[in-house]
């Protein structure tokens, strides 16, 4: 079911891009990643809007929590009256996630870095689209890279690490308490490290996908910057520790 609905359409779209874009795997991967990111941009913006809303209502929520600390039912009702959907921030992510995972899996399968992966690829290709079968295996050479193998000069893993770190730093919302700040700091290091590790271990075509995703994400941040800005923390919240955000405007 997952393969039929998500992964196979992505694989065949990638093959079509490859076919019509001069048999260049890297261009096909770039375009598909761009397309998918554009597709999920409205969801991403909605997610940011929700996060902003949560942040703006934070003083009010804190006040309600103090007021109704012994009456959780009432607290719940009052919070609901404020019009916040607590899943509003993550629901768009939950919708984006299958697409991005599907894209990741599709790229891995098309690149077919191992013989067994190529052996399983025929099952994913639509036979009713003429000539798609003639494209396999995809051209894997690009500059010094064999896209089906890890980058032996470690350039891509380093680029992925750097862009992941920068992108993560841009999109991380300000922390409202020390615990959240610690988590943010941890994620700011862990995420790029893990992405870098994957790029070091897996096919460089996948690292290209990570890199392009990060670059598009960074570009989107600057294009839609106002969606990423958060209100100042409540002055009476003694525990609040607000993380400074790079170049974030509060206009």
């Amino acid at each position: 079911m997952w393969d039929t609905i998500i992964v196979r359409p992505i694989i065949n779209l990638l093959l079509l891009f490859y076919k019509f874009l001069g048999h260049e795997t890297i261009i096909a991967v770039t375009l598909l990643t761009l397309l998918m990111r554009l597709l999920v941009t409205p969801l991403m913006l909605k997610q940011q809007k929700s996060a902003r809303q949560q942040q703006e209502l934070r003083p009010k929520i804190t006040e309600l929590q103090k007021k109704y600390k012994d009456d959780p039912q009432k607290l719940m009702e009052e919070q609901r009256k404020l019009g916040i959907n607590p899943l509003g921030g993550c629901l768009p992510s939950l919708i984006q996630l299958p697409l991005m995972i599907g894209l990741y899996q599709g790229i891995i399968r098309v690149l077919a870095s191992t013989p067994l992966q190529l052996l399983e690829l025929p099952q994913d290709i639509y036979r009713w689209i003429p000539t798609l079968s003639t494209l396999v295996p995809l051209k894997s050479q690009f500059l010094w890279l064999d896209l089906a193998l890890p980058d032996r000069f470690y350039v891509l893993p380093l680029l992925v690490f750097a862009t992941s770190w920068f992108y993560q730093k841009l999109i991380t919302p300000p922390a409202l308490d020390p615990q959240a700040e610690a988590m943010n700091k941890q994620m700011l290091l862990m995420m790029p490290l893990m992405m870098g590790f994957f790029s070091l271990t897996y096919a460089s075509g996948l690292a290209i996908y990570f890199l392009i995703t990060n670059l598009i994400g960074i570009l989107q941040y600057y294009v839609f910057r106002e969606h990423y800005t958060y209100p100042a923390p409540p002055p009476d919240d003694k525990k609040s520790v607000v993380q400074k955000r790079p170049q974030a405007s509060t206009k």
Binding site: Q47, A51, Q54, I61, Q65, P72, L75, M76, Q79, R80, N85, P86, L87, G89, C90, S93, L94, L97, M100, I101, Y104, Q105, I108, T114, P115, L116, Q117, L118, L119, P122, Q123, R127, S133, T134, V136, P137, I171, T172, P173, A180, M183, N184, M187, M191, M194, F198, Y202
Partner: protein
């Protein structure tokens, strides 16, 4: 109360909205689980085996092992059990009988990109000595090699074909194709035929490696060409089986199969048996170019591996890849015999089947029993390696 409401209420009570980072962590966890599951060596290719002189030589992932063909008893392993290096072996071993005192066994590692020549002992049970190695290739060895003109000639994942002197492993010549070479080269007199994933069949001078001619086919070729009556027969990823005339160096005839042809065909006289990945099995008379059976036999599975014929030619054995079942077809009619053997565990069968005078050998993956010997007549499992009781 709906599940949705329960979840949202719980979140209100906690007063902590879900954090975006947590979702990213979930994504990463997913990536880790899907990409890095399992420890040790993972199967990345299909295992190959060879049966010769009462001995089974199996490229059994961590090592190449020699087993007694009758009993399945392990005779020796290379590298031995104490070797900690992880270098999977998939390429089907090859024996050069005319070289060395008692013949050479040629094996090729997958990730260590190395060819090993082992000098066989007087008895096949005797552990062979390492004679030479060749580590000059840049890619992985997937397909097997051929012995011709005093050389061991094998294609590599770096797109090159390497010809190695059998005496000392020195590189005699190389030939570059534009993509990976997974098919085993075929030597016919002084010409070597190499099929590549670059859609091309190359004819090379076996002594020098110089290109004599080449023929561009419709799709990538992973199967080894088969020589029948002076013509090469090979299938490709565009669902076509080609008859290539070696005199005119042209495609003489094309057969349209129902799906990709991945597996190497098997010939019995002028009857060619081959399968497509969609589960269709064909028997083709190469003289009349007519199908022998009324319709292709259909097996409900993906077919990737080379079929094998029983000793008397009456049965065609074919392995279903995903379900791990070996099927036996009547070569006269194409009908399936009441013979099918279901592997005990949910293993897969990507490797070629091999037969000798009475047994059929298969190498399932993702199961504990790496080598299985079956009775050709009954399909009964005669032995497994490791044995069932120790494999679990």
């Amino acid at each position: 109360m709906s599940l949705w409401r329960i979840v949202t209420d719980r979140l209100y009570q906690r007063g902590k909205p879900l954090h975006g980072s947590a979702l990213l962590a979930v994504l990463l966890l997913f990536v880790v689980l899907t990409g890095c599951a399992g420890g040790g060596l993972r199967h990345e290719s299909w295992p190959g085996l060879l049966v010769d002189d009462g001995t089974v030589y199996a490229a059994n992932l961590e090592r190449v092992q020699a087993l007694n063909a009758e009993t399945g008893k392990l005779l020796w392993s290379f590298p031995d059990e104490t070797d900690k290096n992880q270098r999977p072996f998939y390429s089907t071993p090859v024996i050069a009988k005319e070289h060395g005192d008692h013949g050479l066994l040629l094996i090729a590692g997958y990730k260590d990109k190395t060819v090993y020549a082992l000098a066989l002992g007087e008895s096949r049970a005797e552990r062979p000595d390492l004679l030479w190695t060749f580590a000059g290739a840049g890619g992985q060895y997937v397909g097997s090699g051929v012995v011709a003109d005093g050389k061991f000639i094998i294609g590599n994942g770096d797109g090159y074909v390497y010809a190695l002197d059998l005496d000392d492993g020195t590189q005699a010549w190389t030939f570059r194709t534009k993509d990976r070479v997974w098919a085993t080269p075929v030597a016919v007199e002084d010409t070597l035929y190499v099929a590549s994933l670059d859609h091309t069949l190359y004819a090379l001078d076996v002594t020098t490696g110089a290109e004599k001619w080449k023929l561009v086919l419709g799709g990538a070729v992973s199967a080894t060409p088969v020589l029948v009556d002076g013509a090469l027969w090979v299938g490709d990823f565009t669902s076509k089986l080609y008859q290539i005339d070696l005199v005119t160096q042209q495609i003489a005839w094309t057969f349209d199969a129902g799906d990709w042809i991945w597996a190497t065909p098997v010939a019995d006289g002028n009857i060619l048996y081959f399968a497509d990945v969609g589960g269709r099995v064909y028997a083709l008379n190469t003289e009349t170019r007519a199908l022998v059976w009324n319709a292709p036999a259909v097996i409900d599975d993906v077919l990737h591996s080379r079929p094998a014929l029983s000793a008397d030619g009456g049965l065609l054995f074919i392995a279903g890849y995903e379900k791990g079942v070996v099927h036996a077809l009547d070569t006269e009619t194409g009908s399936e015999m009441n013979w099918g053997v279901v592997t005990r565990n949910p293993g897969r069968l990507p490797g070629d089947l091999v037969t000798d005078a009475s047994r059929l050998y298969a190498m399932p993956i993702l199961v504990a029993e790496r080598v299985q010997a079956l009775d050709q007549e009954t399909g009964k499992v005669l032995w497994t390696y490791p044995p069932v009781e120790t494999a679990k």
